[in-house]
Structure formats: structure tokens, C-alpha cells
């Protein structure tokens, strides 16, 4: 039975990979998977049953892909919810914020500054995202989507990045907390 399930899963994935995933699809998947390597403080959730909310600013294709991807998935025992967020001001009760590349460096830096100190994992897709104040930032190397991390910034927000996540990060910025 287990073997059949595994076979089915492998077959599904094989189909998915058949047409090579786009960069946005990979980013959406990474966003979803990041939730498994980050520890939020308990106060970040209103109650134990509260869902883990991923907010997306801009990046419509990533939002669309992510919305499809989280269906039926959980992170740290919580259901995952995906919301569109405004670029103007921070919103409460959100745990991951992804700011699309089209938002622009200044606006991104401002928004990051607004979220600073809050238990929110901030992820950008800018060439200097970490310098703007993001905790994680997507980079593309040799046509592969990679990411870099600033665990010290995450620490300021009360988050803790897993060492395993850091082990596969392309670059650690700002030293370890």
C-alpha cells in the first residue's frame, strides 16, 4: 500500500517535471517549503489553530502558483493560507511576506522597514534584497533558483532560521546571530 502510494507520488512528480518548472513555480515552491525551516515565536499566532499566513506583494504568477500549491498542505501543523498584501503598509497576522521584484528597491526597503521587529519572515526577489533588510532573498545562478539568508535580521524579528536551511543557502549575509 505504502509502496503504491509512493509510486503514485513519484509518478505525479515525474509528470510535473516533464515540462521544466518555471522560475516562478520554483519560487512559489520554495516559499511554501521555507515554512518548514523557520521557527516563529508563539505570540506570532493568535491561537494554536490559527493558519500560517503567507502574504504576497506583487508577483502575481508566484501568488497564483502558491495558492495552488498550498492546497492540502500544512506547515508546522497549521494549514497554510495565501493572501495578497498591499505594498503601501504592513498588515497584522501574517507570517511570511514575499515582495515581488516589480515593487522596486525603495518601496521594498520601506515595506521591509515597516515589518522590521515583527515575527514575519520577509523574502525578496531583488539583486540586493538582503541589503534592503530582507531575511531571505532569491537569486538565480546558472539558471537555477537559489537563495541567500540573513539570519541576524530574522533574529531581530524573533524568528529562527534552521541550520539546515542555512546549509543550503547560497550566501549567509551579516553573520550568524
Amino acid at each position: 500500500m505504502v509502496a503504491l502510494l509512493v509510486l503514485a507520488a513519484v509518478a505525479q512528480r515525474a509528470n510535473a517535471q516533464a515540462d521544466a518548472p518555471t522560475a516562478d513555480q520554483v519560487k512559489a515552491a520554495y516559499l511554501q517549503k521555507f515554512t518548514g525551516y523557520v521557527d516563529w515565536p508563539p505570540k506570532a499566532f493568535a491561537d494554536p489553530a490559527a493558519p500560517l499566513v503567507i502574504g504576497v506583494v506583487g508577483a502575481d504568477s508566484v501568488f497564483a502558483e502558491l495558492s495552488r500549491l498550498v492546497l492540502g498542505r500544512t506547515a508546522q501543523g497549521r494549514t497554510i493560507a495565501v493572501r495578497r498584501l498591499p505594498a503601501a503598509a504592513p498588515v497584522p497576522d501574517v507570517h511570511v511576506v514575499f515582495i515581488g521584484r516589480e515593487i522596486g528597491a525603495e518601496a521594498t526597503a520601506a515595506l521591509l522597514a515597516a515589518y522590521r521587529g515583527r515575527p514575519v519572515l520577509t523574502v525578496t526577489d531583488q539583486p540586493r534584497g538582503l541589503a534592503l533588510g530582507a531575511m531571505l532573498n532569491f537569486v538565480e545562478l546558472e539558471r537555477r533558483v537559489r537563495f541567500e539568508a540573513a539570519p541576524a535580521l530574522a533574529d531581530i524579528g524573533g524568528l529562527r532560521l534552521s541550520s539546515r536551511l542555512l546549509a543550503v543557502a547560497e550566501r549567509i549575509w551579516g553573520g550568524l546571530p
Binding site: 505504502v2 509512493v6 513519484v10 512528480r13 515525474a14 517535471q17 518548514g36 539546515r164 536551511l165 546549509a167
Partner: protein, 636 residues
Amino acid sequence: MTGPSLRGQMTRASMVTTLLALLLSCGALLVYEFLSFRDVWVADLRTQADLIAHSSEAAVVFNDPKAARENLAVLKLRPHVRAAAIFLADGRRFAAFAADNAAVVPSRADTRLLAEGSRFAGPTIEISYPIEHEGELVGSVYMAAEHDVWTRAQSYATILVAVTLASLAFAYFVFGRLQGAITEPLARMTRVARNVMERRDWSLRAPDSNNRDLSVLVQSFNGMLAEVESRTGELEREMVVRQQAEAELRAVDRKKDEFLATLAHELRNPLAPMTNAVALVRRPELDDVSREKAIGILDRQLHHMVRLIDDLLDVSRIATGKLSLHMENVDLVATLRAALELAEPAARARRLQVTSRLPEAPCPIVGDSARLLQVFSNLLNNACRYTPPGGRVEVETRIAEDSVEVIVRDTGVGVEPAMQGRIFDLFEQADKSLERGNAGLGIGLTLARQLVQLHGGDIGVASEGIGRGSAFTVRLPRSRAAAEPVAPSAPAAAAGPDAMRIVIADDNVDFAESLQVILGMHGHDVTVLHDGEAALARMRQHPPDLAVLDIGMPGLNGYEVARRLRADPSTASLVLIAVTGWGQAADKQAAADAGFDRHLVKPLSPDTLLEVIAALRPGSGRPAAAPPADPPRQRP
């Protein structure tokens, strides 16, 4: 006997058992070791795989093959791991590790291995370990290692073989010591059994054992041996006794045959001269001298036959225990004189010189005078018979404190030493050829010895050999109670005849008439009647002085005649003598009850009757009250 010994069989059985037990335990140990060692290997590899899976999860999730390779590279510290790989969930290889160039890393995941977890293939163990992220299978870790399970199993097997051999050797040694306690008693018993059968020696015994069961076995075995020994001994003893008895029976049977032949001969011997004499007497022209000679022949031969038959009867009575002695005080000297007197005619006939050295004083002893007279006259008769004419016969007495010896010595044929012990046995005769020339059955000495022994004495013979004469010694005990005056022994000679009127009543005509002749020759007036009625009538008419009555008579029997005579005053004082063939004590008592003065048993010699008549002569002091004892039987 072939086949394995008990000891060998027991040793073999125990060795086989021990070996099987050891092999079984070794096999179980080996299998257990193999399985547990393999499990340890699997567990060890899985731990390693778990570590790699955990650390490589992020690398797989975030598609970082480099990090995954670095994670796998730590395996180079594990020399047993030959190859390793990380596969993605779709089966594609994500990262690989090879210990050296020879190692082969599969390019795709083996889904079956992933389901099984681990697989042994020869010297290689392969495991596959899942990589999961948030409960989702994202890939798998594959590892291939060279295990040394077989090497280890071989080492184990070598050790176990060595241990098994050592255990077997030890078991053999220990069992050898232990089984000695069991097989050794059995072996000893077997040896004893074999010796018993080979030597037929039932006295052998198996040594006892400490073992309880074996002890029972040994004791039973010994018990059986003892039983066989005692029964065999009994059988052997019984056989000897039976053989002796059989030999004795044969000897006695042979002697009886000889005796019967002799008896027939002896009984027949006198008949020829008697027949001749009777024929002579019948002839009317015979002169007185010849007639006297013929009658003398008849008389001698008759006496001889009577003696033979008397001896026979006496021997038979002694043999059946019916002979009893009338013990009284007897003067031995007087008895010897009587015997000498009786032997005198024979001695004279053979011109023998008979001398006697007897004491003047009486020699009182306790005995049956008639039987003693029989013994001595027997010895004297023998002496006369076996001594050639012109020889000498001597009689001598030796009186001691408590016994008296009578020695009868002759110069006759003698007795050879070998015969001296047997001469007194029944039917034994010293020399058959010599015996044929003389009269005799060979029972005289037997009778003499038995009579002497009945008196508590014994008799012996001494002879220097054939032709050197012999000496018979009779030793009789003397008791102090006997040293008192002795009733005069019955003399051989009867008192002179004084005429008496005598009636004889007997239905045996010959007997009655022969008595009439004899009593008539002694001057008595004798009347003969043949039945009781006639006798009674005759005696009532003419009362006699004395009546000799038979008991069994036609008409009136003797008892009735006596009772009626006693009842009649005219005949009440008659002297009555019963003469009958019945001699039991009850018969004597019946006679006394009927009124008889005397009871005489047939055969009756005329001398005895004359003696009794003389003793009972009316007016000679006839005892009236108790019936007097029988007078001694006079031997011719």
C-alpha cells in the same frame, strides 16, 4: 559371542547424543549470531542513512546537489560503505558517493529496495532510507556496504567446532569415569557368569555394586546361583544315597534269592531219609534193630526241620519287632549247663571233646532263659557242626563287675578275617561249598546276635583264619538287681513219670494220637477224643487227673469245655492245659478266663508238654490264683 560390548555401546550412544546436542546448540548459536549481527549492521547503516537523510532534506527540498554531495562525502570515514546516493522522489539520482573507482552507484532509485528497507546480496548489504519533508516523501538515501557477516560467521563456526571437539573430548573423559560405575559391576557379573558356565562352579559369586538397581540385579543373580548350588548339591547327595540304597537293595535281593535256594534245599534235605525211614517202618518183616534205626532217622530229621522252621519264625518275629523277651532273674551257669547237655548228642556223634570251665556258684543275670539257651545251644551246635571229628570245643565264662562274657571256642574250620564282620548278617554264610556239606541256613548266628542285642549285650567272633578254629564271645550286662536268689532254671530232664489219667481232646487226629503214644510211653493212661462234646461227656463220667484241650474244636470249643468242667464240682479241680495255634496275649488271657491252668502254643514239643505235666502234677503245689507264666521253651 560377537557384537559390540555394553561399554562400547553406551560410550557410542553418549557420544552421539553429546555431539548432536552440541551441533544443535552450535547451529542455533550460529544462526542467532548471524541474524543479530546482520540486524546490527542494518541498524548501523540505517542510523547513518537517517543522519544523511535528515541533513540532506533541505538540500533535496531546495535542489542543492552540492550540499547533498558534501553530506554523502562524510561516508568516506566509513570504510565498509562502498557506494551511496541520494535519489529524488521521482527516482532520479540527486547525489552520489563512491568509495573508489570500482564502486558502482545505481543511477535510479530501486523502489523495491525502498519498500523493503534493506537487502543482502552476497557480501553486500544495501539499504534505502526515505527523505521526508513535512510528512511528504521527497527522496531517498541509498547505501551499499560490504558487510563481514560471513567472515564473522566463519570465525564463529571455527570457534564452535573447536569448542565442540573439546566438549566431546571432555564428555568422553567424564562419561568414561561415570559409566565405569555402571558397566564395571555388569562386566564383573558377566565374567562370573562365564566362569560359572565354563567351570560348572556354582560357588562363585558376583561382587556387590553401589548402584541400587545393579545391586538388586547382582543379589538376584547370586541368589539364583546359591539356589542352583544348593539344589545341585542336594541332587548329588540324593543320587549317592539312592545309588547306595539301590546297591544295598540289590545285595539284599541277591542274598534273599540265595537264601530261598538254600531254604528249599535245607527243607528238602531231610525229606529223603524220612521217606526212606517211613518206607522201612512199613515193612512187616523189618527187625527191631532196623526199625529203631529208622525211627531214630525220622526223629533226628524231624527235629532238624522243626529247628529250621523255628529259627525262621524267630528271625521273622525279630525283623517285624514281634519278639518279646520274658525278662527274669536267670542263672547263666545253669543255662550254659543246659545248653551243653543239649549239644552233647551232636558232639558225641562227631567224637568231639567238649570241655567247660564254669564257675561253681550261680551267676545271676536278667534275661529270658529260653532265649539265652537258644543262643548258647546255637553257638555250641555251630561249633560241633563246623569242627571236624576228633576236634575240641570249649566253653568258658569271664565274670566282670557289670558284665559277663561267655566264650565258645572250637578247633574247627574257622572264619577268614574278611568274613568276620559279616558273619552275623542275615543269610550270610562263610563258605557255600563247605556249608553244603553241613546242615544250616546261616540264620543261626543272625538270630543269636539279635537275641543278645535284645538283652543289651553283643556278640563277636575271633579267628586266626581258615582251619585255625574260631572263638565266639557273648557279652551280657549284669545288673545289681539280679544279684538275688534265682529261680531254678528249667532242667532239660523231666521228672520221672508217675502214671496219670490224661484226656486229650483235639480235632487234629495225628497230633492227638502222636501225643497219646508219647505220653503213653511215659506211663500215663491217655484217652483221645476229637470233639468237645465227647470230651466233656467222657470226663464227666470218668474224671481224669489232667486234660489237654484244643481251643478250636467242632461242637464245643476248648474255652466252653473248660468253663463247664470248672463249673462241675466233680471236675472242678482238673488240671487243664490249652494247646492252640493262637499265641497272642489276648488268647492267653481268654484261656485263663475260661479256667485253663496253662496255655501252650503249637508247635508243641512232647518234652515241653511232659515238663508242664510234671510241674502241674496234682498235689505238687499248683498255683491257683493268677495264671502262671509260660515255662521256658525248651529247644531240642
